[in-house]
Structures are given as structure tokens and as C-alpha cells.
């Protein structure tokens, strides 16, 4: 358990990091590495039927970091967590914990705890016994276990339910117990496998900030799995986007959102418009693209982009405006969807592609268009990017 002073230090260094982030400069990280995954592959089955759940994955997770694995169902998130926890072994590659290869350690010797997707609370024990289980297994004296259990109960605000059976508490409370149980032995790293997916929207929001608070208070490295991009963006220090057993991009939320490495990432995180176009001359990672309408736009190129033939241009809905006259593209309003804070206008472009524009709402006026209106789309300068397919 880190001391209060340790917590403060930790918070201060995170704050510094964030200040640097807002200046959009990737900072030098003084932090040590908690987990290093080196060239890890995992195959299930043998021979013809072999299935590669993880394909040469390398990623480094820093100490005290809230690190998120984000990706669609079946992309290998749980598999990676299971390898780190020791429930399964990599076919190839190494996993290091604080610089040491943990391959020879069985799960019960790894200072890593898991919050399971199904919670996996012991149904024959009370809330208190569940939370104390890890410490008891570590052979801690009774008094210490009791004190720590009480402390954890306070941390997750469950003092009143200590002696309840785990079948007699609500889903959100079970989630907290699972969290407290995993935190009680003060692991070096906490693995959370979609811990919030079973909760309803409001409770999920509540638990999100609760998790964030717990991570800051305990200073433990969190590796958090989700397939909810919003959850990933709001909670994480850094995100790894995964697809089909590979890590496509690792970066801070803003990097993932504003500088997606490829088309998959752009499509998976937030809403995106894809437009066909041709590239002009490339200079310093910038170029001019010609759209099907003949409009020319300045655009940035994704890192490592190698131009070959026609390209796909990516524009976020909030980087475009719907206007009556002119615009980079012309089309017809096909649908208008009201979202409270903003309104989405779906435009059927003259080249038959669909384009979504997001417009901030205001109380004094509506979006100004009705379905069927002729409309122009103006793309913000710097709004267009060219990405790898």
C-alpha cells in the first residue's frame, strides 16, 4: 500500500504529464515499465486447425498507468490478459514484469490480480471473506487480514455489506467486491477484463469514475479491457487498439482519436467519413487531395504512409459543416438525427457516398435543414487525413 505522500507524488507527476500532453508534445517518460510484452504470439490448436489469437504482439505498459486494451470482440484482449496473469502460456515471445521474465511463475506466484468479466466471486463466502481470500492465501496474520478487509470495504464504500453472501448483493455491488478482492493483496498490476460491461448505463458511468479514483488513490498499474471506445477515451492514460490478434496503435486518447494510424483505428474510434480521392505532391507529411467533386483539400498523411494509387480520405463529422451554398462537396440531406448536445446530418453526396456532419445544437435555432434540402459540405482546414487501408 503506498503511503499518502506516495499518492500525492504520483498524482503530481501525472498532472505534469497531462500538462505536457495538452501541448501536444509527446513527453519524455521518466516512469519505469510495469509490463513489457515482447513479440508474443498465442496459437490455439495445432497443425491445420491452429488459430492465431495473438500475432507477434509487443507493447510496454508503464508503472502507475491506466492502460486500456480496446478492440472488437474476439480480437484477443482476454487472451493477452490471461497470458499476463499466467492462466495460459504464450506460444512465442516473452512477458516481463518490472524487467523480469515471468514465464516460470505460476499464476499464484505472480503479483498480478484480475477482476474477471463474470466477477467470479466465491458464492460460498461472505463479502468480507471474498475480499480477505488473497491475503489469507498469502499467509498474512488474521488481524492484518481483518484490518485490510475493512480498509478495502471503506475504499469501495461497502462497509455495511461485509457479512452478506455475494448472491445477496446487486450487480454493481458485486463489481465493487470483485474490485476490492483483487486490490486487497496490493498487486503490482491489476487486470480488468471488461469489468463494467454487465452494468447499466448510469451505473457504468458511476463505476468509471470510481475506477479512476481507485487507480489514482492506490497508484497501481491498471490494464483495462473494453470494447467501448468512449469508455477507453475517457478513462485511459494510453490505449492500445487491437484487431484480429494484432496491436494496431498505441497512444494517448487524443493520439488515437486525432492521429489514427490506419483506417481500422479511425473507423473503430468515433465516427468517421471515408471519401475516395487522389493525392497530389507530398511534402513534409502533407499533401493536397482532389475529391470526386473536383474540390481540392489540404490533408495530413498518416505516419509511414506509402502512396500507391487512389487513396481514402478520412474526415471526422465534427470537422465538417453543412452550408446552403458552395462547399467542398455537394449533396442532399437524407436524414437528420437529434442527439441532444448535437445533431447529425446525413448527406447523400452527388457521388452516392454518405457523409455525416455533426453540428452543435443551440437553444435558439434548429439545424436549419430539412430532409431533401440541397446542401454543401465544408471541410475544416486540417480536417482531412490520408490513412493506410
Amino acid at each position: 500500500m503506498p503511503s499518502a505522500a506516495g499518492c500525492d507524488d504520483n498524482q503530481r507527476s501525472r498532472q505534469k504529464e497531462r500538462d505536457v500532453f495538452s501541448g501536444v508534445i509527446v513527453p519524455e517518460k521518466p516512469d519505469r515499465n510495469a509490463i513489457e510484452v515482447r513479440g508474443v504470439s498465442k496459437r490455439f490448436g495445432i497443425g491445420e486447425n491452429a488459430f492465431k489469437a495473438l500475432d507477434n504482439v509487443s507493447v510496454t505498459i508503464r508503472e502507475n498507468e491506466f492502460f486500456t486494451l480496446l478492440g472488437p470482440s474476439g480480437c484477443g484482449k482476454t487472451t493477452l490478459l490471461r497470458l499476463i496473469a499466467g492462466f495460459d502460456f504464450p506460444t512465442e515471445g516473452q512477458i516481463m514484469l518490472h524487467g523480469q521474465d515471468i514465464a516460470p511463475l505460476p499464476p499464484f506466484k505472480r503479483p498480478v490480480n484480475t477482476v474477471f468479466q463474470s466477477y467470479a466471486l466465491f458464492p460460498h463466502m461472505t463479502v468480507g471473506q471474498n475480499i480477505g481470500f488473497g491475503l489469507e492465501m498469502l499467509g498474512k496474520p488474521k488481524a492484518e487480514v481483518k484490518a485490510r478487509v475493512d480498509q478495502m470495504l471503506r475504499l469501495v464504500r461497502m462497509e455495511a455489506l461485509k457479512d452478506r453472501r455475494t448472491s445477496q448483493i446487486s450487480g454493481g455491488q458485486q463489481q465493487r467486491v470483485a474490485l476490492a478482492r483483487a486490490l486487497a493483496p496490493s498487486p503490482k498490476v491489476l487486470l480488468l477484463d471488461e469489468p463494467l460491461s454487465a452494468l447499466d448505463y448510469k451505473l457504468r458511468k458511476e463505476m468509471q469514475s470510481e475506477l479512476k479514483r481507485l487507480q489514482t488513490e492506490t497508484g497501481i498499474t491498471f490494464i483495462f479491457v473494453t470494447h467501448d471506445q468512449e469508455e477507453a477515451l475517457t478513462m485511459s492514460d494510453r490505449i492500445a487498439v487491437m484487431s484480429a490478434g494484432k496491436i494496431l496503435q498505441v497512444g494517448a486518447p487524443w493520439e488515437i482519436y486525432d492521429r489514427p494510424a490506419d483506417r481500422f483505428v479511425a473507423d473503430f474510434i468515433g465516427e468517421t467519413n471515408f471519401l475516395p480521392g487522389t493525392l497530389g505532391a507530398i511534402e513534409n507529411g502533407r499533401t493536397t487531395v482532389t475529391l470526386s467533386s473536383g474540390a481540392m483539400l489540404p490533408a495530413t498523411l498518416a505516419e509511414g504512409y506509402v502512396p500507391n494509387g487512389p487513396a481514402t480520405i478520412v474526415v471526422r463529422p465534427e470537422h465538417a459543416r453543412a452550408i446552403r451554398e458552395g462547399g467542398d462537396l455537394r449533396g442532399q440531406v437524407e436524414n437528420i438525427v437529434y442527439f441532444g448536445t448535437d445533431t447529425h446530418i446525413h448527406v447523400r453526396l452527388d457521388d452516392r457516398n454518405l457523409f455525416t456532419v455533426r453540428q452543435q445544437n443551440s437553444r435558439s435555432r434548429d439545424c436549419g435543414f430539412v430532409v431533401g434540402d440541397a446542401v454543401g459540405v465544408a471541410i475544416a482546414p486540417d480536417g482531412a487525413q490520408v490513412l493506410k487501408d
Binding site: 467470479a120 466465491f122 488473497g134
Partner: protein, 267 residues
């Protein structure tokens, strides 16, 4: 649910159900009633009396056979349940592999092999062993009973294991429990109702066995069922009814006790 399909709404359901109940329970009811007959007939009612219970109680052969039955059943049930628990753990806590189905079949073979075949086979083997070792105690019967009780103990235990969330054991391992600690603290307590069910089933099956016991027993090793079988060949008095009634009462008692234990254990 009221409008959904229900067999109970099918024509004739009640009639068939009633007939089945009568066929099942009428003979048993008759048997119990005549255990209290004052006369010596098992078919003509001559008034109420407890004389046959008395007689059975004072019949040293009955008491002897009962004690032996319980001894054998207890030993066999415990041994069979231990074997069955290990077998169930070995066959469920593993990835599916070629030969696993064969293993299931092997464990459950005693359910499929005709009892008389097992009985004759055991008779032949045990008679050789008896000659070779000179030992002729209850061991043979206990061993034989254990063998055919294993599948009965195995089934409920395996069912319980398969219904159990595997991630519980994973969670225990994650929380620093060694394999043995995880078994002791998590698997075993959750498996307990299944083990009790297996134990009880094995006990009742062993208590009830006639064929194999008849073949394997040495002289003077009658169990209650084989003793009763022997008696039936001579004169049938309501004493048989009295013994059967007590037998029945004990069985019902075991089942009831088990029911309450398992319900309390079921979280």
C-alpha cells in the same frame, strides 16, 4: 406461462398419472399395511399388532445381516465416492482430448454390463484369490460393491462439477491459492452437495444389491437383501413386511436428510 404448452393440458394426462401412481405405490402400501398384521398371513388382515417388528428385532440373523449390510454399504459408499470424486475431477478439469469419451464409457461401464456377468466374473476371480490368500472376510464384498457403486457416485459429482464456474478456480489461483488450497477452499465446498448426493446414492445402491452379493459372499456373510431372499424360499410371514417397512423408512429418512442438507448448502 399459463398459455404456453404444457403436458398437463393434454387429454388423459391425469388418468395416466393416477394409474402410474397406483401401480407404483399400491404394492408398497399393501406391504407396509400387512407389516402390522396380527395374523401370520401377508394377505388376510387379522387386526393391528407390532408383533412382527418385535420378532424381527429379536431375530439375531436379521440384526446380523442388517449390521453387515450397513458395514458394507458404508465402506463401499465412502470408497466409491472418493474414487468417483477423483475420476470426476480428472474428466472435467481437463481440456477435451481424444479418448476422453472412452474414459467416460469406461467409468460408467458397470451401468451397462449386465449385473449377472459382473457377478460371475467376480465369483471366478475372487474364488482364485481366496484360495491363494486364504482370506475370506468382508473385503471381497466391499470391493465388489465399491466397483459397481462408482458410476452412481460419479454421475451427480460430475454434474455438479460441470455446472461449476471454472473461473472460480482461476480466481482462486489468481489470489495466490496453490492448487491444493484452491481445491480445499473453493472446489470442495462447492462440490459438497454433489459429493453428498453421490455418497447417498452409492450407499442406497449397495444396501439394495442382491445379485452380486449372492455370488460373491462366503458362508455366513448374508446381507439383509440376500437373507430376505433366502427366507422367501421358505415360509413367508409378515416379518418380511416388517423388515421391508423399516428398510423403506430408513431410505426415506436418508433421502429427506440429504434433501435438507443439500438445500442448505446450495447457495
Amino acid at each position: 406461462m399459463a398459455r404456453s404448452f404444457s403436458v398437463r393440458a393434454q387429454p388423459g394426462f391425469t388418468t395416466v398419472a393416477l394409474i402410474c401412481f397406483f401401480l407404483l405405490y399400491l404394492p408398497i402400501a399393501t406391504l407396509v399395511v400387512y407389516a402390522f398384521n396380527a395374523g401370520t398371513s401377508i394377505a388376510i388382515w387379522e387386526g393391528f399388532s407390532l408383533r412382527w417388528f418385535h420378532q424381527a428385532w429379536n431375530n439375531s440373523q436379521v440384526i446380523d445381516a442388517s449390521i453387515r449390510s450397513v458395514q458394507i454399504a458404508t465402506a463401499a459408499a465412502i470408497l466409491a465416492t472418493i474414487c468417483a470424486t477423483m475420476a470426476a475431477l480428472a474428466t472435467t478439469r481437463t481440456r477435451a482430448y481424444r479418448g476422453l469419451t472412452a474414459k467416460y464409457a469406461f467409468i460408467n461401464a458397470p451401468l451397462m454390463v449386465p449385473e449377472i456377468v459382473t457377478a460371475v466374473a467376480l465369483l471366478i476371480v475372487f474364488s482364485r484369490v481366496k484360495i491363494a490368500t486364504g482370506y475370506s472376510g468382508l473385503g471381497y464384498l466391499i470391493l465388489a460393491h465399491t466397483a459397481f457403486c462408482i458410476p452412481f457416485a460419479y454421475l451427480p459429482i460430475r454434474a455438479r462439477l460441470e455446472a461449476m464456474d471454472l473461473s472460480l478456480e482461476t480466481a482462486a489461483a489468481d489470489l495466490y491459492a496453490t492448487r491444493w488450497q484452491a481445491f480445499r477452499r473453493v472446489t470442495l465446498p462447492l462440490l459438497w452437495p454433489g459429493i453428498l448426493a453421490g455418497l447417498m446414492l452409492a450407499f442406497v445402491i449397495s444396501l439394495d444389491d442382491v445379485v452380486i452379493t449372492e455370488f460373491v459372499k462366503s458362508g455366513g456373510q448374508d446381507t439383509l437383501p440376500t437373507y430376505m431372499l433366502g427366507q422367501l424360499r421358505r415360509v413367508v410371514t409378515p416379518e418380511m413386511n416388517a423388515i421391508s417397512t423399516v428398510f423403506l423408512a430408513i431410505s426415506i429418512l436418508i433421502v429427506t436428510v440429504f434433501f435438507f442438507i443439500s438445500r442448505k448448502r446450495d447457495v
